[in-house]
Protein backbone atom coordinates (compact mmCIF):
# COMPACT_ATOMS: atom_id res chain seq x y z
CA UNK A 1 0.00 0.00 0.00
CA UNK A 2 2.57 2.57 1.16
CA UNK A 3 6.06 2.95 -0.30
CA UNK A 4 9.12 2.14 1.82
CA UNK A 5 9.86 5.84 2.19
CA UNK A 6 6.38 6.46 3.55
CA UNK A 7 6.70 3.61 5.99
CA UNK A 8 10.09 4.86 7.07
CA UNK A 9 8.79 8.36 7.77
CA UNK A 10 5.71 6.94 9.45
CA UNK A 11 7.65 4.59 11.69
CA UNK A 12 10.40 7.07 12.53
CA UNK A 13 8.83 10.42 11.96
CA UNK A 14 11.37 13.26 11.91
CA UNK A 15 10.68 16.49 13.75
CA UNK A 16 7.85 15.38 15.99
CA UNK A 17 7.20 17.75 18.84
CA UNK A 18 6.51 21.33 19.78
CA UNK A 19 8.63 24.48 19.79
CA UNK A 20 8.21 26.71 22.81
CA UNK A 21 7.72 30.31 21.72
CA UNK A 22 7.70 29.38 18.04
CA UNK A 23 7.96 32.17 15.50
CA UNK A 24 5.15 30.68 13.48
CA UNK A 25 2.50 28.07 14.22
CA UNK A 26 -0.02 26.74 11.74
CA UNK A 27 -2.76 24.18 12.09
CA UNK A 28 -4.92 22.78 9.27
CA UNK A 29 -7.39 19.98 8.75
CA UNK A 30 -10.34 19.07 10.88
CA UNK A 31 -11.80 16.18 12.74
CA UNK A 32 -14.53 15.52 10.26
CA UNK A 33 -12.05 14.42 7.63
CA UNK A 34 -9.81 12.75 10.16
CA UNK A 35 -6.52 14.58 9.74
CA UNK A 36 -5.10 17.51 11.70
CA UNK A 37 -1.59 18.87 11.26
CA UNK A 38 0.13 21.45 13.37
CA UNK A 39 3.49 22.89 12.38
CA UNK A 40 5.85 24.98 14.55
CA UNK A 41 8.59 27.11 12.96
CA UNK A 42 11.73 28.65 14.49
CA UNK A 43 12.99 31.31 12.11
CA UNK A 44 16.20 33.29 12.33
CA UNK A 45 17.27 35.79 9.66
CA UNK A 46 14.55 34.51 7.38
CA UNK A 47 15.95 30.99 7.65
CA UNK A 48 13.94 28.12 9.09
CA UNK A 49 16.34 26.90 11.74
CA UNK A 50 13.96 24.48 13.36
CA UNK A 51 10.62 22.93 12.58
CA UNK A 52 8.41 20.55 14.53
CA UNK A 53 5.00 19.02 13.93
CA UNK A 54 2.18 17.23 15.62
CA UNK A 55 -0.26 15.26 13.55
CA UNK A 56 -3.50 13.46 14.19
CA UNK A 57 -4.10 11.28 11.18
CA UNK A 58 -3.38 8.24 9.13
CA UNK A 59 0.01 6.83 8.20
CA UNK A 60 0.23 9.06 5.16
CA UNK A 61 -0.57 12.14 7.22
CA UNK A 62 2.26 11.39 9.62
CA UNK A 63 4.70 10.60 6.82
CA UNK A 64 3.88 13.71 4.78
CA UNK A 65 4.26 15.85 7.91
CA UNK A 66 7.62 14.29 8.57
CA UNK A 67 8.81 14.63 4.99
CA UNK A 68 7.48 18.16 4.51
CA UNK A 69 9.18 19.40 7.65
CA UNK A 70 12.42 17.77 6.53
CA UNK A 71 12.17 19.47 3.16
CA UNK A 72 11.90 22.98 4.58
CA UNK A 73 14.42 22.72 7.38
CA UNK A 74 17.30 25.13 6.75
CA UNK A 75 15.50 26.77 3.84
CA UNK A 76 14.51 30.42 3.61
CA UNK A 77 10.91 31.34 4.29
CA UNK A 78 10.60 32.24 0.63
CA UNK A 79 11.78 28.79 -0.44
CA UNK A 80 9.61 27.04 2.15
CA UNK A 81 6.51 28.85 1.00
CA UNK A 82 7.07 27.41 -2.45
CA UNK A 83 6.93 23.84 -1.19
CA UNK A 84 4.24 21.99 -3.11
CA UNK A 85 2.39 18.84 -2.22
CA UNK A 86 3.87 17.42 -5.39
CA UNK A 87 7.39 17.79 -4.04
CA UNK A 88 6.34 16.00 -0.87
CA UNK A 89 4.71 13.24 -2.89
CA UNK A 90 7.79 12.78 -5.00
CA UNK A 91 10.10 12.72 -2.03
CA UNK A 92 7.95 9.93 -0.56
CA UNK A 93 7.84 7.92 -3.80
CA UNK A 94 4.14 8.60 -4.11
CA UNK A 95 1.00 7.87 -2.13
CA UNK A 96 -2.14 5.83 -2.87
CA UNK A 97 -4.71 8.01 -4.67
CA UNK A 98 -7.05 8.24 -1.65
CA UNK A 99 -4.15 9.56 0.43
CA UNK A 100 -2.92 12.32 -1.86
CA UNK A 101 -4.94 14.86 0.12
CA UNK A 102 -2.53 14.29 3.03
CA UNK A 103 0.29 15.81 1.02
CA UNK A 104 -1.92 18.79 0.31
CA UNK A 105 -2.52 19.10 4.00
CA UNK A 106 1.23 19.13 4.70
CA UNK A 107 1.76 21.88 2.16
CA UNK A 108 -1.05 23.87 3.70
CA UNK A 109 0.14 23.35 7.28
CA UNK A 110 3.48 24.86 6.38
CA UNK A 111 1.80 27.70 4.52
CA UNK A 112 -0.33 28.37 7.58
CA UNK A 113 2.71 28.49 9.86
CA UNK A 114 4.45 30.90 7.49
CA UNK A 115 1.34 33.05 7.36
CA UNK A 116 1.31 33.15 11.14
CA UNK A 117 5.00 34.10 11.14
CA UNK A 118 4.42 36.91 8.65
CA UNK A 119 1.43 38.13 10.58
CA UNK A 120 3.49 38.26 13.74
CA UNK A 121 6.09 40.21 11.74
CA UNK A 122 3.41 42.76 10.90
CA UNK A 123 2.91 41.84 7.23
CA UNK A 124 -0.45 42.05 5.55
CA UNK A 125 -1.50 38.41 5.06
CA UNK A 126 -5.09 38.95 4.02
CA UNK A 127 -4.42 37.51 0.54
CA UNK A 128 -2.84 34.30 1.84
CA UNK A 129 -5.55 31.71 1.74
CA UNK A 130 -5.13 28.51 3.62
CA UNK A 131 -7.02 25.52 2.37
CA UNK A 132 -8.02 22.97 4.96
CA UNK A 133 -7.00 20.16 2.68
CA UNK A 134 -10.20 18.23 2.93
CA UNK A 135 -13.03 20.26 1.55
CA UNK A 136 -12.72 18.17 -1.57
CA UNK A 137 -13.03 21.23 -3.76
CA UNK A 138 -9.42 21.56 -4.76
CA UNK A 139 -7.88 18.32 -3.57
CA UNK A 140 -9.02 16.55 -6.68
CA UNK A 141 -7.38 19.06 -8.97
CA UNK A 142 -4.00 18.62 -7.36
CA UNK A 143 -1.93 15.58 -7.93
Amino acid sequence: MYSEKVMDHFTNPRNVGEIENADGVGQVGNLKCGDIMKVYLKIENDIITDVKFKTFGCGAAVATSSMATELIKGKTVEEASKLTNKAVLEALDGLPPVKVHCSVLAEEAIAAAIKDYKEKQGHDVSDMQICQGCCGKCGESRE
Binding site: F10, T11, P13, V16, L31, G34, K38, F56, G57, C58
Partner: protein, 395 residues
Protein backbone atom coordinates in the same frame (compact mmCIF):
# COMPACT_ATOMS: atom_id res chain seq x y z
CA UNK B 1 12.13 -14.84 7.78
CA UNK B 2 9.57 -16.18 10.29
CA UNK B 3 7.24 -13.36 11.05
CA UNK B 4 5.53 -13.16 14.37
CA UNK B 5 1.88 -12.89 13.46
CA UNK B 6 -0.98 -12.47 15.86
CA UNK B 7 -4.16 -12.61 13.87
CA UNK B 8 -7.06 -10.93 15.65
CA UNK B 9 -9.22 -9.89 12.72
CA UNK B 10 -11.49 -12.89 12.40
CA UNK B 11 -14.43 -10.65 11.56
CA UNK B 12 -12.60 -9.62 8.38
CA UNK B 13 -11.85 -13.16 7.35
CA UNK B 14 -10.57 -16.45 8.75
CA UNK B 15 -8.09 -19.03 7.56
CA UNK B 16 -9.48 -22.30 6.26
CA UNK B 17 -9.35 -25.00 8.92
CA UNK B 18 -7.15 -27.91 7.84
CA UNK B 19 -10.09 -30.31 8.21
CA UNK B 20 -12.17 -28.08 5.95
CA UNK B 21 -9.43 -27.93 3.33
CA UNK B 22 -9.17 -31.70 3.67
CA UNK B 23 -12.86 -32.05 2.84
CA UNK B 24 -12.41 -29.78 -0.19
CA UNK B 25 -9.29 -31.49 -1.50
CA UNK B 26 -10.92 -34.27 -3.57
CA UNK B 27 -13.00 -31.64 -5.36
CA UNK B 28 -9.93 -29.58 -6.11
CA UNK B 29 -8.24 -32.61 -7.62
CA UNK B 30 -9.64 -35.88 -8.93
CA UNK B 31 -13.39 -35.31 -8.41
CA UNK B 32 -13.60 -32.32 -10.69
CA UNK B 33 -16.75 -33.17 -12.65
CA UNK B 34 -19.41 -30.62 -13.51
CA UNK B 35 -22.40 -31.38 -11.27
CA UNK B 36 -24.70 -30.96 -14.28
CA UNK B 37 -23.02 -33.81 -16.13
CA UNK B 38 -24.80 -37.16 -15.94
CA UNK B 39 -21.75 -39.43 -15.98
CA UNK B 40 -19.82 -40.74 -12.99
CA UNK B 41 -17.64 -37.68 -12.37
CA UNK B 42 -20.64 -35.40 -12.70
CA UNK B 43 -22.72 -37.49 -10.33
CA UNK B 44 -19.96 -37.47 -7.73
CA UNK B 45 -19.95 -33.68 -7.76
CA UNK B 46 -23.73 -33.57 -7.69
CA UNK B 47 -23.77 -35.91 -4.72
CA UNK B 48 -21.25 -33.72 -2.93
CA UNK B 49 -23.30 -30.56 -3.31
CA UNK B 50 -26.52 -32.37 -2.43
CA UNK B 51 -24.92 -33.58 0.78
CA UNK B 52 -23.51 -30.13 1.51
CA UNK B 53 -26.96 -28.68 0.97
CA UNK B 54 -28.60 -31.14 3.34
CA UNK B 55 -25.93 -30.55 5.94
CA UNK B 56 -26.23 -26.79 5.68
CA UNK B 57 -29.99 -27.04 5.94
CA UNK B 58 -29.72 -29.32 8.94
CA UNK B 59 -27.60 -26.94 10.97
CA UNK B 60 -29.63 -23.88 10.06
CA UNK B 61 -32.89 -25.65 10.81
CA UNK B 62 -34.01 -25.35 7.19
CA UNK B 63 -35.10 -27.67 4.41
CA UNK B 64 -32.48 -28.52 1.76
CA UNK B 65 -34.71 -26.97 -0.89
CA UNK B 66 -34.46 -23.68 0.97
CA UNK B 67 -30.67 -23.46 0.61
CA UNK B 68 -29.12 -21.60 -2.33
CA UNK B 69 -25.37 -21.38 -2.77
CA UNK B 70 -23.94 -18.05 -3.87
CA UNK B 71 -20.50 -16.64 -4.67
CA UNK B 72 -20.25 -14.56 -1.49
CA UNK B 73 -22.10 -13.05 1.42
CA UNK B 74 -22.41 -9.90 -0.65
CA UNK B 75 -24.12 -11.80 -3.42
CA UNK B 76 -26.54 -13.35 -0.93
CA UNK B 77 -27.38 -9.89 0.41
CA UNK B 78 -27.74 -8.35 -3.05
CA UNK B 79 -29.92 -11.20 -4.20
CA UNK B 80 -32.14 -11.18 -1.13
CA UNK B 81 -32.73 -7.45 -1.25
CA UNK B 82 -33.13 -6.87 -4.97
CA UNK B 83 -34.80 -10.24 -5.48
CA UNK B 84 -37.51 -9.61 -2.89
CA UNK B 85 -37.97 -5.95 -3.77
CA UNK B 86 -38.52 -6.67 -7.46
CA UNK B 87 -40.58 -9.82 -7.05
CA UNK B 88 -42.97 -8.00 -4.74
CA UNK B 89 -42.98 -4.55 -6.33
CA UNK B 90 -46.62 -4.86 -7.26
CA UNK B 91 -47.44 -4.95 -3.57
CA UNK B 92 -45.32 -1.91 -2.77
CA UNK B 93 -41.99 -0.22 -3.02
CA UNK B 94 -41.05 0.52 0.57
CA UNK B 95 -38.25 -1.27 2.36
CA UNK B 96 -36.87 -0.98 5.86
CA UNK B 97 -33.33 -1.53 7.00
CA UNK B 98 -31.07 -0.17 9.72
CA UNK B 99 -28.47 2.56 9.90
CA UNK B 100 -25.70 0.12 10.82
CA UNK B 101 -25.97 -2.51 8.11
CA UNK B 102 -22.95 -3.71 6.19
CA UNK B 103 -22.37 -2.04 2.83
CA UNK B 104 -23.44 -5.30 1.19
CA UNK B 105 -26.94 -4.39 2.38
CA UNK B 106 -26.78 -0.60 2.36
CA UNK B 107 -25.56 -0.37 -1.22
CA UNK B 108 -28.20 -2.59 -2.85
CA UNK B 109 -30.79 -0.67 -0.81
CA UNK B 110 -29.35 2.58 -2.11
CA UNK B 111 -29.47 1.16 -5.62
CA UNK B 112 -33.17 0.43 -5.14
CA UNK B 113 -33.76 3.90 -3.78
CA UNK B 114 -32.35 5.34 -6.96
CA UNK B 115 -34.65 3.05 -8.92
CA UNK B 116 -37.68 4.56 -7.22
CA UNK B 117 -38.04 2.54 -4.03
CA UNK B 118 -38.53 4.25 -0.68
CA UNK B 119 -36.30 3.36 2.24
CA UNK B 120 -36.61 3.78 5.99
CA UNK B 121 -33.41 3.45 8.01
CA UNK B 122 -34.10 2.42 11.58
CA UNK B 123 -31.89 4.24 14.08
CA UNK B 124 -29.94 2.46 16.80
CA UNK B 125 -29.22 3.43 20.38
CA UNK B 126 -25.76 4.18 21.75
CA UNK B 127 -25.04 0.47 22.01
CA UNK B 128 -26.11 -0.23 18.45
CA UNK B 129 -29.43 -1.82 19.33
CA UNK B 130 -32.61 -1.42 17.33
CA UNK B 131 -35.80 -0.77 19.26
CA UNK B 132 -38.46 -3.21 18.01
CA UNK B 133 -41.10 -0.54 18.56
CA UNK B 134 -39.36 1.53 15.90
CA UNK B 135 -39.75 -1.29 13.42
CA UNK B 136 -43.41 -1.66 14.28
CA UNK B 137 -43.93 2.05 13.62
CA UNK B 138 -41.98 2.03 10.37
CA UNK B 139 -43.93 -0.72 8.63
CA UNK B 140 -46.42 0.63 6.10
CA UNK B 141 -49.00 -1.08 3.89
CA UNK B 142 -46.57 -0.85 0.98
CA UNK B 143 -43.59 -2.26 2.89
CA UNK B 144 -42.37 -5.48 1.30
CA UNK B 145 -39.04 -6.13 2.97
CA UNK B 146 -37.28 -5.65 6.27
CA UNK B 147 -33.55 -6.36 6.28
CA UNK B 148 -31.77 -6.21 9.62
CA UNK B 149 -28.37 -7.68 10.30
CA UNK B 150 -28.02 -10.35 12.94
CA UNK B 151 -24.78 -9.13 14.44
CA UNK B 152 -22.80 -6.07 13.54
CA UNK B 153 -19.39 -6.56 11.96
CA UNK B 154 -17.78 -3.59 13.68
CA UNK B 155 -19.17 -3.35 17.18
CA UNK B 156 -20.50 -6.89 17.49
CA UNK B 157 -23.96 -5.90 18.70
CA UNK B 158 -26.51 -8.69 18.33
CA UNK B 159 -30.04 -7.60 17.44
CA UNK B 160 -33.24 -9.07 18.89
CA UNK B 161 -33.86 -10.82 15.58
CA UNK B 162 -36.61 -13.13 16.78
CA UNK B 163 -38.63 -10.24 18.09
CA UNK B 164 -38.03 -8.16 14.97
CA UNK B 165 -38.93 -11.04 12.67
CA UNK B 166 -42.11 -11.63 14.62
CA UNK B 167 -43.22 -8.04 14.07
CA UNK B 168 -42.55 -8.32 10.35
CA UNK B 169 -44.37 -11.63 10.10
CA UNK B 170 -47.43 -10.32 11.88
CA UNK B 171 -47.65 -7.53 9.35
CA UNK B 172 -47.02 -9.85 6.42
CA UNK B 173 -43.67 -8.34 5.52
CA UNK B 174 -40.74 -10.45 4.35
CA UNK B 175 -37.83 -10.48 6.81
CA UNK B 176 -34.20 -10.88 5.78
CA UNK B 177 -31.20 -10.98 8.06
CA UNK B 178 -27.56 -10.61 7.11
CA UNK B 179 -26.10 -13.24 9.41
CA UNK B 180 -22.62 -13.13 7.90
CA UNK B 181 -21.06 -12.25 11.27
CA UNK B 182 -23.38 -14.40 13.35
CA UNK B 183 -23.03 -17.78 11.65
CA UNK B 184 -20.20 -19.71 13.22
CA UNK B 185 -20.13 -17.50 16.30
CA UNK B 186 -23.56 -18.03 17.75
CA UNK B 187 -26.28 -20.61 17.24
CA UNK B 188 -28.73 -19.60 14.54
CA UNK B 189 -31.86 -21.55 13.65
CA UNK B 190 -34.07 -20.06 10.98
CA UNK B 191 -37.19 -21.90 12.03
CA UNK B 192 -36.87 -20.87 15.67
CA UNK B 193 -36.26 -17.31 14.61
CA UNK B 194 -39.10 -17.27 12.12
CA UNK B 195 -37.14 -15.45 9.44
CA UNK B 196 -37.66 -15.59 5.69
CA UNK B 197 -34.18 -15.06 4.29
CA UNK B 198 -30.68 -15.28 5.73
CA UNK B 199 -27.25 -14.56 4.23
CA UNK B 200 -23.97 -16.12 5.22
CA UNK B 201 -20.39 -16.25 3.97
CA UNK B 202 -18.02 -19.18 4.47
CA UNK B 203 -14.80 -17.23 4.93
CA UNK B 204 -16.10 -15.78 8.19
CA UNK B 205 -16.23 -19.20 9.86
CA UNK B 206 -13.05 -20.95 8.76
CA UNK B 207 -14.34 -21.83 5.30
CA UNK B 208 -13.07 -20.71 1.91
CA UNK B 209 -13.52 -17.30 0.31
CA UNK B 210 -15.84 -16.86 -2.65
CA UNK B 211 -18.71 -18.95 -1.39
CA UNK B 212 -21.84 -17.95 0.45
CA UNK B 213 -25.37 -19.07 0.95
CA UNK B 214 -28.83 -17.63 0.96
CA UNK B 215 -31.57 -19.33 2.92
CA UNK B 216 -34.98 -18.66 1.38
CA UNK B 217 -38.04 -19.92 3.20
CA UNK B 218 -40.37 -21.93 1.00
CA UNK B 219 -43.09 -19.70 -0.35
CA UNK B 220 -41.11 -16.47 -0.31
CA UNK B 221 -41.39 -14.63 -3.60
CA UNK B 222 -37.89 -13.96 -4.88
CA UNK B 223 -36.61 -13.19 -8.37
CA UNK B 224 -33.67 -15.16 -9.70
CA UNK B 225 -30.39 -13.25 -9.58
CA UNK B 226 -28.04 -15.06 -11.89
CA UNK B 227 -29.78 -16.09 -15.11
CA UNK B 228 -28.48 -18.95 -17.19
CA UNK B 229 -28.25 -22.70 -16.69
CA UNK B 230 -30.58 -24.73 -14.49
CA UNK B 231 -28.36 -24.78 -11.39
CA UNK B 232 -29.79 -24.08 -7.91
CA UNK B 233 -33.32 -24.86 -9.12
CA UNK B 234 -32.92 -22.27 -11.88
CA UNK B 235 -32.55 -19.44 -9.36
CA UNK B 236 -28.77 -19.00 -9.37
CA UNK B 237 -27.14 -20.11 -12.60
CA UNK B 238 -23.48 -20.92 -13.09
CA UNK B 239 -21.33 -24.02 -12.72
CA UNK B 240 -21.20 -24.72 -9.01
CA UNK B 241 -18.06 -24.00 -7.00
CA UNK B 242 -18.05 -27.58 -5.77
CA UNK B 243 -15.00 -27.42 -3.53
CA UNK B 244 -16.25 -24.15 -2.06
CA UNK B 245 -19.69 -25.58 -1.34
CA UNK B 246 -18.21 -28.67 0.28
CA UNK B 247 -15.82 -26.50 2.29
CA UNK B 248 -18.59 -24.23 3.53
CA UNK B 249 -20.69 -27.17 4.70
CA UNK B 250 -17.70 -28.75 6.45
CA UNK B 251 -16.86 -25.46 8.15
CA UNK B 252 -20.47 -25.00 9.24
CA UNK B 253 -20.55 -28.47 10.72
CA UNK B 254 -17.36 -27.87 12.69
CA UNK B 255 -18.68 -24.55 13.89
CA UNK B 256 -21.99 -25.89 15.14
CA UNK B 257 -20.49 -28.94 16.78
CA UNK B 258 -18.05 -26.83 18.70
CA UNK B 259 -20.07 -23.71 19.41
CA UNK B 260 -20.22 -23.66 23.21
CA UNK B 261 -16.55 -24.35 23.72
CA UNK B 262 -15.62 -21.81 21.08
CA UNK B 263 -17.83 -19.21 22.74
CA UNK B 264 -16.26 -19.75 26.13
CA UNK B 265 -12.82 -19.40 24.63
CA UNK B 266 -13.67 -16.16 22.85
CA UNK B 267 -15.43 -14.66 25.84
CA UNK B 268 -12.49 -15.35 28.08
CA UNK B 269 -10.11 -13.60 25.72
CA UNK B 270 -12.42 -10.63 25.18
CA UNK B 271 -12.94 -10.16 28.88
CA UNK B 272 -9.22 -10.24 29.57
CA UNK B 273 -8.50 -7.75 26.83
CA UNK B 274 -11.20 -5.32 27.94
CA UNK B 275 -10.20 -5.46 31.58
CA UNK B 276 -6.51 -4.95 30.95
CA UNK B 277 -7.00 -2.13 28.49
CA UNK B 278 -9.32 -0.26 30.82
CA UNK B 279 -6.88 -0.85 33.63
CA UNK B 280 -3.91 0.55 31.83
CA UNK B 281 -5.01 3.06 29.21
CA UNK B 282 -6.97 6.24 29.96
CA UNK B 283 -9.45 7.95 27.63
CA UNK B 284 -10.75 4.79 26.02
CA UNK B 285 -14.28 3.57 25.47
CA UNK B 286 -15.76 0.21 24.52
CA UNK B 287 -18.17 0.43 21.60
CA UNK B 288 -21.20 -1.82 21.25
CA UNK B 289 -23.48 -3.48 23.72
CA UNK B 290 -21.81 -5.04 26.77
CA UNK B 291 -24.07 -8.08 26.84
CA UNK B 292 -25.69 -8.55 23.45
CA UNK B 293 -22.46 -8.85 21.54
CA UNK B 294 -20.47 -11.38 19.56
CA UNK B 295 -18.24 -13.23 22.00
CA UNK B 296 -15.01 -12.58 20.11
CA UNK B 297 -15.59 -8.91 19.26
CA UNK B 298 -13.90 -6.05 21.10
CA UNK B 299 -14.18 -2.55 19.68
CA UNK B 300 -12.34 0.30 21.40
CA UNK B 301 -12.14 3.99 20.70
CA UNK B 302 -8.94 5.63 21.89
CA UNK B 303 -9.33 9.36 22.16
CA UNK B 304 -6.94 11.78 20.44
CA UNK B 305 -5.53 9.28 17.99
CA UNK B 306 -6.40 8.02 14.57
CA UNK B 307 -7.13 4.38 13.77
CA UNK B 308 -5.03 3.73 10.70
CA UNK B 309 -1.83 4.88 12.40
CA UNK B 310 -2.64 2.67 15.32
CA UNK B 311 -3.22 -0.30 13.04
CA UNK B 312 -0.03 0.21 11.11
CA UNK B 313 2.04 0.42 14.26
CA UNK B 314 0.39 -2.67 15.68
CA UNK B 315 1.00 -4.38 12.34
CA UNK B 316 4.70 -3.69 12.72
CA UNK B 317 4.53 -5.61 15.95
CA UNK B 318 2.82 -8.49 14.14
CA UNK B 319 -0.69 -7.70 15.32
CA UNK B 320 -3.25 -8.02 12.54
CA UNK B 321 -6.25 -6.01 13.67
CA UNK B 322 -8.77 -3.71 12.11
CA UNK B 323 -10.31 -0.31 12.42
CA UNK B 324 -13.95 -0.52 11.46
CA UNK B 325 -14.88 -2.51 8.41
CA UNK B 326 -12.08 -3.72 6.19
CA UNK B 327 -14.23 -3.17 3.14
CA UNK B 328 -14.29 0.54 3.67
CA UNK B 329 -10.56 1.00 3.72
CA UNK B 330 -10.95 2.67 0.33
CA UNK B 331 -12.83 5.48 2.03
CA UNK B 332 -11.84 8.45 4.17
CA UNK B 333 -15.06 8.74 6.08
CA UNK B 334 -15.24 7.43 9.59
CA UNK B 335 -17.32 4.33 10.06
CA UNK B 336 -21.05 4.89 9.56
CA UNK B 337 -21.66 2.45 12.38
CA UNK B 338 -19.69 4.42 14.93
CA UNK B 339 -21.38 7.63 13.82
CA UNK B 340 -24.78 5.94 14.08
CA UNK B 341 -24.19 5.03 17.72
CA UNK B 342 -23.47 8.69 18.33
CA UNK B 343 -19.69 8.86 18.53
CA UNK B 344 -18.22 12.24 17.60
CA UNK B 345 -15.94 12.21 14.57
CA UNK B 346 -12.65 12.36 16.44
CA UNK B 347 -13.55 9.33 18.53
CA UNK B 348 -15.02 7.47 15.60
CA UNK B 349 -11.70 7.88 13.82
CA UNK B 350 -9.73 6.33 16.64
CA UNK B 351 -11.36 2.96 16.76
CA UNK B 352 -9.67 -0.40 16.98
CA UNK B 353 -11.48 -3.66 16.37
CA UNK B 354 -10.04 -6.87 17.74
CA UNK B 355 -11.91 -10.04 16.82
CA UNK B 356 -10.59 -13.23 18.33
CA UNK B 357 -10.53 -16.73 16.87
CA UNK B 358 -9.92 -20.27 17.92
CA UNK B 359 -6.12 -20.14 18.00
CA UNK B 360 -5.67 -16.93 20.00
CA UNK B 361 -4.28 -17.30 23.52
CA UNK B 362 -4.19 -15.35 26.76
CA UNK B 363 -0.48 -14.69 26.21
CA UNK B 364 -1.35 -13.07 22.94
CA UNK B 365 -3.92 -10.90 24.68
CA UNK B 366 -1.27 -9.74 27.11
CA UNK B 367 1.15 -8.99 24.30
CA UNK B 368 -1.58 -7.09 22.46
CA UNK B 369 -2.32 -4.99 25.55
CA UNK B 370 1.37 -4.10 25.89
CA UNK B 371 1.56 -3.09 22.27
CA UNK B 372 -1.63 -1.06 22.38
CA UNK B 373 -0.48 0.77 25.48
CA UNK B 374 2.87 1.66 23.97
CA UNK B 375 1.43 2.66 20.60
CA UNK B 376 -1.43 4.73 21.95
CA UNK B 377 1.04 6.60 24.11
CA UNK B 378 3.34 7.23 21.18
CA UNK B 379 0.54 8.47 18.95
CA UNK B 380 -0.88 10.67 21.66
CA UNK B 381 2.52 12.28 22.06
CA UNK B 382 2.33 13.08 18.38
CA UNK B 383 -1.25 14.32 18.47
CA UNK B 384 -2.15 18.02 18.45
CA UNK B 385 -5.50 17.07 19.99
CA UNK B 386 -3.87 15.47 22.98
CA UNK B 387 -1.60 18.50 23.34
CA UNK B 388 -4.65 20.78 23.49
CA UNK B 389 -6.40 18.49 25.90
CA UNK B 390 -3.47 18.31 28.30
CA UNK B 391 -2.95 22.06 28.11
CA UNK B 392 -6.61 22.69 28.89
CA UNK B 393 -6.57 20.27 31.79
CA UNK B 394 -3.49 21.98 33.25
CA UNK B 395 -4.98 25.43 33.14
Amino acid sequence: MERKLIYVDHAATTYIKPEVLGAMQPYLTELFGNPSSIYYLGRESKKAIDEARSQTAYFLGAHPQEIYFTGSGTEADNWAIKGVAYANRKKGKHIITSAIEHHAVLEPVEFLRKEGFEVTYLPVDENGLINPAELEKAIRPDTTLVSIMYANNEIGTIQPIKELAEIARKKGVIFHTDAVQAIGNISVNVKDLGIDLLSMSAHKFYGPKGIGCLYVRKGVKLDGFMHGGAQERKKRAGTENVSGIVGMAAALKMAYENLDEYNEHLKKLSKRLIEKVFDRIPYVRLNGDRDNRLPGNVNFSFEFIEGESLLLMLDMKGIQASSGSACTSGSLDPSHVLLAIGLPHEIAHGSLRITFGEKNTEEEVDYIVDCIEETVEKLRQMSPLYEDFIRKNKS
